[in-house]
Protein backbone atom coordinates (compact mmCIF):
# COMPACT_ATOMS: atom_id res chain seq x y z
CA UNK A 1 0.00 0.00 0.00
CA UNK A 2 1.41 3.46 -0.82
CA UNK A 3 2.54 5.41 2.21
CA UNK A 4 0.45 8.52 2.07
CA UNK A 5 1.96 11.56 3.78
CA UNK A 6 -0.94 11.99 6.19
CA UNK A 7 -1.69 8.30 6.58
CA UNK A 8 -4.89 8.46 4.55
CA UNK A 9 -5.53 5.33 2.51
CA UNK A 10 -6.48 6.87 -0.81
CA UNK A 11 -3.80 9.55 -0.64
CA UNK A 12 -6.30 12.35 -0.69
CA UNK A 13 -6.34 15.45 1.50
CA UNK A 14 -9.20 15.24 3.97
CA UNK A 15 -11.82 18.01 4.11
CA UNK A 16 -10.45 18.86 7.56
CA UNK A 17 -6.96 19.39 6.17
CA UNK A 18 -8.32 21.50 3.30
CA UNK A 19 -10.23 23.66 5.79
CA UNK A 20 -7.20 23.92 8.12
CA UNK A 21 -5.11 25.26 5.27
CA UNK A 22 -7.86 27.56 3.97
CA UNK A 23 -8.35 29.10 7.44
CA UNK A 24 -4.60 29.53 7.96
CA UNK A 25 -4.39 31.26 4.56
CA UNK A 26 -7.47 33.47 5.04
CA UNK A 27 -6.11 34.48 8.48
CA UNK A 28 -2.78 35.39 6.89
CA UNK A 29 -4.38 37.33 4.01
CA UNK A 30 -6.51 39.35 6.41
CA UNK A 31 -3.51 39.96 8.67
CA UNK A 32 -1.64 41.40 5.65
CA UNK A 33 -4.65 43.40 4.42
CA UNK A 34 -5.14 44.88 7.88
CA UNK A 35 -1.49 45.84 8.22
CA UNK A 36 -1.44 47.36 4.74
CA UNK A 37 -4.56 49.42 5.46
CA UNK A 38 -3.11 50.65 8.79
CA UNK A 39 0.21 51.57 7.20
CA UNK A 40 -1.53 53.46 4.38
CA UNK A 41 -3.96 55.14 6.79
CA UNK A 42 -1.14 56.31 9.05
CA UNK A 43 1.00 57.58 6.19
CA UNK A 44 -1.48 59.09 3.73
CA UNK A 45 -4.96 59.46 5.29
CA UNK A 46 -4.51 61.30 8.57
CA UNK A 47 -6.90 64.22 8.93
CA UNK A 48 -8.41 63.85 5.47
CA UNK A 49 -11.76 62.48 6.71
CA UNK A 50 -11.59 59.59 4.29
CA UNK A 51 -13.58 57.26 6.60
CA UNK A 52 -16.75 59.35 6.25
CA UNK A 53 -16.46 59.20 2.45
CA UNK A 54 -15.59 55.48 2.37
CA UNK A 55 -19.11 54.60 3.48
CA UNK A 56 -20.94 52.06 1.33
CA UNK A 57 -18.51 52.21 -1.54
CA UNK A 58 -17.08 48.68 -1.80
CA UNK A 59 -17.53 47.03 -5.19
CA UNK A 60 -18.71 43.89 -3.39
CA UNK A 61 -21.43 45.73 -1.43
CA UNK A 62 -24.10 44.23 -3.69
CA UNK A 63 -23.28 40.73 -2.43
CA UNK A 64 -25.59 40.07 0.52
CA UNK A 65 -23.25 38.59 3.08
CA UNK A 66 -24.08 37.63 6.69
CA UNK A 67 -23.63 40.62 9.03
CA UNK A 68 -24.00 38.91 12.40
CA UNK A 69 -23.60 35.55 14.09
CA UNK A 70 -27.18 34.46 13.57
CA UNK A 71 -27.13 35.14 9.84
CA UNK A 72 -23.76 33.36 9.54
CA UNK A 73 -25.16 30.34 11.34
CA UNK A 74 -28.47 30.19 9.50
CA UNK A 75 -27.11 30.38 5.94
CA UNK A 76 -26.66 26.96 4.28
CA UNK A 77 -23.00 26.00 4.08
CA UNK A 78 -23.10 25.58 0.30
CA UNK A 79 -24.48 29.12 -0.09
CA UNK A 80 -21.85 30.52 2.27
CA UNK A 81 -19.08 28.67 0.40
CA UNK A 82 -20.35 30.10 -2.90
CA UNK A 83 -20.47 33.58 -1.36
CA UNK A 84 -16.84 33.22 -0.25
CA UNK A 85 -15.90 32.09 -3.75
CA UNK A 86 -17.81 35.06 -5.19
CA UNK A 87 -16.02 37.58 -2.95
CA UNK A 88 -12.63 36.01 -3.71
CA UNK A 89 -13.26 36.08 -7.46
CA UNK A 90 -14.43 39.68 -7.23
CA UNK A 91 -11.04 40.61 -5.78
CA UNK A 92 -8.87 38.94 -8.42
CA UNK A 93 -8.96 41.87 -10.83
CA UNK A 94 -8.58 44.75 -8.31
CA UNK A 95 -5.69 42.97 -6.59
CA UNK A 96 -3.81 42.63 -9.88
CA UNK A 97 -4.13 46.39 -10.45
CA UNK A 98 -3.48 47.28 -6.82
CA UNK A 99 -0.16 45.41 -6.93
CA UNK A 100 0.94 47.47 -9.95
CA UNK A 101 -0.70 50.86 -9.20
CA UNK A 102 0.56 50.99 -5.62
CA UNK A 103 4.08 51.37 -7.05
CA UNK A 104 3.03 54.81 -8.37
CA UNK A 105 2.22 56.22 -4.92
CA UNK A 106 4.78 58.79 -3.88
CA UNK A 107 7.34 57.24 -1.48
CA UNK A 108 5.22 54.15 -1.02
CA UNK A 109 7.14 52.14 1.59
CA UNK A 110 8.52 48.75 0.54
CA UNK A 111 6.30 47.05 3.14
CA UNK A 112 3.14 48.24 1.36
CA UNK A 113 4.46 47.26 -2.07
CA UNK A 114 5.48 43.80 -0.90
CA UNK A 115 2.14 43.19 0.82
CA UNK A 116 0.12 44.14 -2.26
CA UNK A 117 1.98 41.54 -4.34
CA UNK A 118 1.82 38.91 -1.59
CA UNK A 119 -1.93 39.39 -1.08
CA UNK A 120 -2.59 39.06 -4.81
CA UNK A 121 -0.67 35.78 -4.94
CA UNK A 122 -2.19 34.34 -1.78
CA UNK A 123 -5.70 35.37 -2.83
CA UNK A 124 -5.29 33.29 -6.01
CA UNK A 125 -4.00 30.41 -3.90
CA UNK A 126 -7.00 30.64 -1.54
CA UNK A 127 -9.34 30.73 -4.54
CA UNK A 128 -7.73 27.49 -5.79
CA UNK A 129 -8.27 25.92 -2.39
CA UNK A 130 -11.86 27.12 -2.08
CA UNK A 131 -12.72 25.69 -5.50
CA UNK A 132 -11.32 22.38 -4.29
CA UNK A 133 -13.33 22.55 -1.04
CA UNK A 134 -16.52 23.51 -2.88
CA UNK A 135 -15.92 20.66 -5.33
CA UNK A 136 -15.74 18.26 -2.38
CA UNK A 137 -18.70 19.65 -0.43
CA UNK A 138 -20.97 20.58 -3.30
CA UNK A 139 -23.47 18.05 -4.45
CA UNK A 140 -24.00 19.70 -7.84
CA UNK A 141 -21.86 21.77 -10.20
CA UNK A 142 -19.65 24.49 -8.72
CA UNK A 143 -21.61 27.72 -9.27
CA UNK A 144 -19.56 30.29 -11.08
CA UNK A 145 -22.04 33.13 -11.25
CA UNK A 146 -21.45 35.01 -7.98
CA UNK A 147 -19.10 37.81 -8.94
CA UNK A 148 -19.11 41.61 -8.84
CA UNK A 149 -17.06 43.52 -11.43
CA UNK A 150 -14.63 46.25 -10.35
CA UNK A 151 -14.37 49.47 -12.32
CA UNK A 152 -12.07 51.35 -9.93
CA UNK A 153 -8.88 51.38 -12.03
CA UNK A 154 -9.39 54.91 -13.46
CA UNK A 155 -9.80 56.34 -9.97
CA UNK A 156 -6.41 54.82 -8.96
CA UNK A 157 -4.85 56.76 -11.84
CA UNK A 158 -6.47 60.17 -11.25
CA UNK A 159 -4.28 63.22 -11.60
CA UNK A 160 -5.69 64.88 -8.48
CA UNK A 161 -3.58 63.55 -5.60
CA UNK A 162 -6.28 63.74 -2.94
CA UNK A 163 -8.86 61.90 -5.04
CA UNK A 164 -6.33 59.26 -6.02
CA UNK A 165 -5.28 58.70 -2.40
CA UNK A 166 -8.92 58.36 -1.40
CA UNK A 167 -9.41 55.75 -4.13
CA UNK A 168 -6.51 53.72 -2.65
CA UNK A 169 -7.83 54.25 0.88
CA UNK A 170 -11.25 53.02 -0.12
CA UNK A 171 -9.89 49.95 -1.92
CA UNK A 172 -7.70 49.00 1.07
CA UNK A 173 -10.59 49.65 3.47
CA UNK A 174 -12.81 47.30 1.42
CA UNK A 175 -10.02 44.71 1.12
CA UNK A 176 -9.58 44.73 4.91
CA UNK A 177 -13.33 44.35 5.40
CA UNK A 178 -13.88 41.60 2.81
CA UNK A 179 -10.80 39.60 3.78
CA UNK A 180 -12.03 39.71 7.38
CA UNK A 181 -15.46 38.46 6.30
CA UNK A 182 -13.89 35.58 4.37
CA UNK A 183 -11.65 34.66 7.33
CA UNK A 184 -14.58 34.81 9.75
CA UNK A 185 -16.94 32.81 7.53
CA UNK A 186 -14.30 30.12 6.94
CA UNK A 187 -13.77 29.78 10.69
CA UNK A 188 -17.53 29.41 11.20
CA UNK A 189 -17.78 26.83 8.39
CA UNK A 190 -14.83 24.87 9.70
CA UNK A 191 -16.36 24.70 13.18
CA UNK A 192 -19.72 23.71 11.68
CA UNK A 193 -18.63 21.14 9.08
CA UNK A 194 -15.54 19.67 10.75
CA UNK A 195 -16.04 20.13 14.50
CA UNK A 196 -19.83 19.95 14.71
CA UNK A 197 -19.96 23.48 16.17
CA UNK A 198 -17.67 22.48 18.99
CA UNK A 199 -14.46 24.34 18.23
Amino acid sequence: LPICPNGSVNCQLSLEELFDRAVKLSHYIHFLSSEMFNEFDERYAQGRGFIAKAVNSCHTASLTTPEDKEQAQQIHHEDLLNLILGVLRSWNDPLIHLASEVQTIKEAPETILWKAVEIEEQNKRLLEGMEKIVGRVHSGEVENDIYTPWDGLPSLQLADEDSRLFAFYNLLHCLRRDSHKIDNYLKVLKCRLIHDNNC
Partner: protein, 210 residues
Protein backbone atom coordinates in the same frame (compact mmCIF):
# COMPACT_ATOMS: atom_id res chain seq x y z
CA UNK B 1 -27.86 78.79 28.12
CA UNK B 2 -28.41 75.85 25.73
CA UNK B 3 -26.41 72.78 26.84
CA UNK B 4 -22.76 72.30 25.96
CA UNK B 5 -21.82 69.82 23.24
CA UNK B 6 -22.00 66.24 24.61
CA UNK B 7 -19.23 63.78 23.69
CA UNK B 8 -19.35 60.05 22.91
CA UNK B 9 -16.66 58.49 25.10
CA UNK B 10 -16.42 54.95 23.79
CA UNK B 11 -18.29 51.98 22.37
CA UNK B 12 -17.51 48.33 23.33
CA UNK B 13 -18.74 44.87 22.46
CA UNK B 14 -18.01 42.14 25.04
CA UNK B 15 -18.72 39.13 22.80
CA UNK B 16 -19.01 40.33 19.22
CA UNK B 17 -22.81 40.05 19.30
CA UNK B 18 -24.06 43.20 21.04
CA UNK B 19 -22.46 46.57 21.86
CA UNK B 20 -22.85 49.62 24.09
CA UNK B 21 -21.85 53.26 23.65
CA UNK B 22 -21.31 55.70 26.52
CA UNK B 23 -21.30 59.46 26.35
CA UNK B 24 -20.18 62.24 28.61
CA UNK B 25 -23.29 64.29 29.36
CA UNK B 26 -23.31 68.02 28.58
CA UNK B 27 -22.82 70.08 31.74
CA UNK B 28 -26.32 70.92 33.05
CA UNK B 29 -25.86 74.17 34.84
CA UNK B 30 -29.29 74.58 36.44
CA UNK B 31 -31.55 73.51 33.61
CA UNK B 32 -32.45 69.84 33.29
CA UNK B 33 -30.95 68.33 30.14
CA UNK B 34 -31.91 65.14 28.40
CA UNK B 35 -29.86 63.24 25.89
CA UNK B 36 -30.89 61.40 22.73
CA UNK B 37 -28.61 59.04 20.85
CA UNK B 38 -29.22 58.87 17.10
CA UNK B 39 -27.53 56.63 14.58
CA UNK B 40 -27.55 55.75 10.91
CA UNK B 41 -26.01 52.70 9.27
CA UNK B 42 -23.79 52.56 6.21
CA UNK B 43 -25.79 52.25 3.03
CA UNK B 44 -29.03 53.51 4.63
CA UNK B 45 -30.44 57.04 4.75
CA UNK B 46 -32.74 56.26 7.70
CA UNK B 47 -31.83 57.65 11.14
CA UNK B 48 -32.73 55.55 14.19
CA UNK B 49 -32.90 56.33 17.87
CA UNK B 50 -31.10 54.34 20.56
CA UNK B 51 -33.07 51.11 21.11
CA UNK B 52 -32.28 50.80 24.84
CA UNK B 53 -31.06 53.52 27.20
CA UNK B 54 -31.46 51.30 30.31
CA UNK B 55 -29.56 48.03 30.11
CA UNK B 56 -26.03 49.48 30.28
CA UNK B 57 -26.75 52.12 32.89
CA UNK B 58 -26.77 55.96 32.79
CA UNK B 59 -25.54 57.92 29.75
CA UNK B 60 -25.37 54.78 27.65
CA UNK B 61 -27.08 53.09 24.75
CA UNK B 62 -27.25 49.30 24.46
CA UNK B 63 -27.58 47.66 21.01
CA UNK B 64 -28.86 44.11 21.33
CA UNK B 65 -28.20 41.40 18.71
CA UNK B 66 -31.06 42.54 16.49
CA UNK B 67 -29.56 46.05 16.31
CA UNK B 68 -25.93 45.00 15.91
CA UNK B 69 -24.37 44.47 12.47
CA UNK B 70 -20.71 43.80 11.62
CA UNK B 71 -18.62 45.14 8.78
CA UNK B 72 -20.95 48.11 8.71
CA UNK B 73 -20.07 51.65 9.75
CA UNK B 74 -22.44 53.22 12.30
CA UNK B 75 -22.58 57.01 12.34
CA UNK B 76 -23.58 57.84 15.92
CA UNK B 77 -24.34 61.23 17.49
CA UNK B 78 -25.78 62.36 20.85
CA UNK B 79 -28.02 65.39 21.19
CA UNK B 80 -28.35 67.25 24.51
CA UNK B 81 -31.50 69.34 24.92
CA UNK B 82 -32.76 71.74 27.61
CA UNK B 83 -35.30 74.55 27.68
CA UNK B 84 -32.90 76.95 26.01
CA UNK B 85 -32.02 74.75 23.06
CA UNK B 86 -29.94 71.75 22.11
CA UNK B 87 -26.43 70.78 21.03
CA UNK B 88 -25.20 67.76 19.03
CA UNK B 89 -21.97 65.85 19.53
CA UNK B 90 -19.46 65.27 16.74
CA UNK B 91 -20.32 62.11 14.75
CA UNK B 92 -18.69 58.93 16.09
CA UNK B 93 -17.98 56.35 13.38
CA UNK B 94 -18.02 52.77 14.66
CA UNK B 95 -17.62 49.36 13.01
CA UNK B 96 -18.44 46.88 15.79
CA UNK B 97 -15.83 44.51 14.29
CA UNK B 98 -13.08 46.69 15.78
CA UNK B 99 -14.46 47.39 19.28
CA UNK B 100 -14.73 43.89 20.73
CA UNK B 101 -13.18 43.70 24.22
CA UNK B 102 -13.86 40.31 25.82
CA UNK B 103 -13.94 39.47 29.53
CA UNK B 104 -10.79 37.84 30.94
CA UNK B 105 -10.26 34.06 30.61
CA UNK B 106 -11.68 31.88 33.45
CA UNK B 107 -11.04 28.54 35.22
CA UNK B 108 -7.29 29.20 35.28
CA UNK B 109 -5.40 26.26 36.81
CA UNK B 110 -1.71 26.03 37.74
CA UNK B 111 -0.10 22.62 38.05
CA UNK B 112 3.53 21.99 38.98
CA UNK B 113 5.17 19.04 37.29
CA UNK B 114 8.65 17.62 37.62
CA UNK B 115 10.82 15.81 35.09
CA UNK B 116 14.56 15.12 35.13
CA UNK B 117 15.01 17.11 38.32
CA UNK B 118 13.40 20.15 36.66
CA UNK B 119 10.13 21.72 37.75
CA UNK B 120 7.81 23.24 35.19
CA UNK B 121 4.40 24.80 35.45
CA UNK B 122 1.39 23.79 33.32
CA UNK B 123 -1.19 26.57 33.05
CA UNK B 124 -4.67 25.85 31.60
CA UNK B 125 -7.69 28.16 31.19
CA UNK B 126 -11.06 28.54 29.46
CA UNK B 127 -12.48 31.33 27.30
CA UNK B 128 -14.78 33.84 29.06
CA UNK B 129 -18.34 32.39 29.27
CA UNK B 130 -19.95 35.20 27.25
CA UNK B 131 -17.69 34.52 24.27
CA UNK B 132 -19.03 31.89 21.86
CA UNK B 133 -15.80 30.43 20.49
CA UNK B 134 -17.43 27.06 19.76
CA UNK B 135 -19.22 28.27 16.65
CA UNK B 136 -16.10 29.94 15.27
CA UNK B 137 -17.83 33.33 15.10
CA UNK B 138 -15.38 34.65 17.65
CA UNK B 139 -11.79 33.39 17.83
CA UNK B 140 -9.77 34.44 20.86
CA UNK B 141 -6.01 34.73 21.35
CA UNK B 142 -4.42 34.62 24.78
CA UNK B 143 -1.46 36.18 26.52
CA UNK B 144 -0.03 35.06 29.82
CA UNK B 145 2.25 36.93 32.17
CA UNK B 146 4.16 35.50 35.08
CA UNK B 147 6.85 36.64 37.45
CA UNK B 148 8.53 35.76 40.71
CA UNK B 149 7.09 38.05 43.38
CA UNK B 150 8.72 41.46 43.26
CA UNK B 151 10.32 41.04 39.86
CA UNK B 152 9.50 42.09 36.30
CA UNK B 153 6.60 40.50 34.40
CA UNK B 154 7.51 38.04 31.67
CA UNK B 155 4.71 38.21 29.07
CA UNK B 156 4.14 35.38 26.60
CA UNK B 157 1.78 35.44 23.58
CA UNK B 158 0.20 31.97 23.49
CA UNK B 159 -2.04 32.27 20.40
CA UNK B 160 -5.30 30.30 20.36
CA UNK B 161 -4.24 27.47 22.68
CA UNK B 162 -5.78 27.11 26.15
CA UNK B 163 -2.70 25.58 27.74
CA UNK B 164 0.89 26.70 28.29
CA UNK B 165 3.95 25.16 29.89
CA UNK B 166 6.30 27.57 31.64
CA UNK B 167 9.91 26.42 31.98
CA UNK B 168 13.14 27.73 33.51
CA UNK B 169 11.48 28.69 36.77
CA UNK B 170 13.55 29.75 39.77
CA UNK B 171 13.37 27.06 42.49
CA UNK B 172 12.03 28.26 45.83
CA UNK B 173 10.34 31.34 44.40
CA UNK B 174 6.65 32.30 44.69
CA UNK B 175 5.25 33.02 41.22
CA UNK B 176 2.28 35.19 40.17
CA UNK B 177 0.35 34.32 36.98
CA UNK B 178 -2.28 36.33 35.07
CA UNK B 179 -4.04 35.86 31.72
CA UNK B 180 -5.88 38.09 29.32
CA UNK B 181 -7.39 37.61 25.87
CA UNK B 182 -8.35 39.44 22.69
CA UNK B 183 -10.25 38.58 19.51
CA UNK B 184 -7.91 37.46 16.71
CA UNK B 185 -7.09 40.32 14.37
CA UNK B 186 -9.16 43.22 15.79
CA UNK B 187 -10.47 44.38 19.14
CA UNK B 188 -8.95 45.10 22.52
CA UNK B 189 -7.23 43.06 25.19
CA UNK B 190 -9.47 42.10 28.08
CA UNK B 191 -8.58 43.15 31.60
CA UNK B 192 -6.02 40.87 33.28
CA UNK B 193 -7.51 37.97 35.20
CA UNK B 194 -7.16 38.02 39.01
CA UNK B 195 -3.66 37.05 40.19
CA UNK B 196 -2.94 33.34 40.77
CA UNK B 197 -0.04 32.14 42.90
CA UNK B 198 2.15 29.07 43.02
CA UNK B 199 5.37 28.23 44.83
CA UNK B 200 8.22 26.48 43.03
CA UNK B 201 9.75 23.87 45.36
CA UNK B 202 13.39 24.53 46.30
CA UNK B 203 15.88 22.69 44.07
CA UNK B 204 16.96 19.48 45.94
CA UNK B 205 19.92 19.25 43.61
CA UNK B 206 21.61 22.18 45.44
CA UNK B 207 24.15 19.88 47.14
CA UNK B 208 25.45 18.67 43.73
CA UNK B 209 26.50 22.22 43.05
CA UNK B 210 29.14 22.39 45.81
Amino acid sequence: LPPEKPRIIKCRSPEKETFTCWWKPALDGELSTNHTLLYSKEGEEKVYECPDYKTSGPNSCYFDKKHTSFWTIYNITVRATNEMGSNVSDPHYVDVTYIVQPDPPVNITLELKKSERKTYLVVTWSPPPLADVRSGWLTLEYELRLKPEGEEWDTVFVGQQTQYTARSLIPGKKYIVQMHCKPDHHGLWSEWSPEMYTEIPPDFGVKDMV
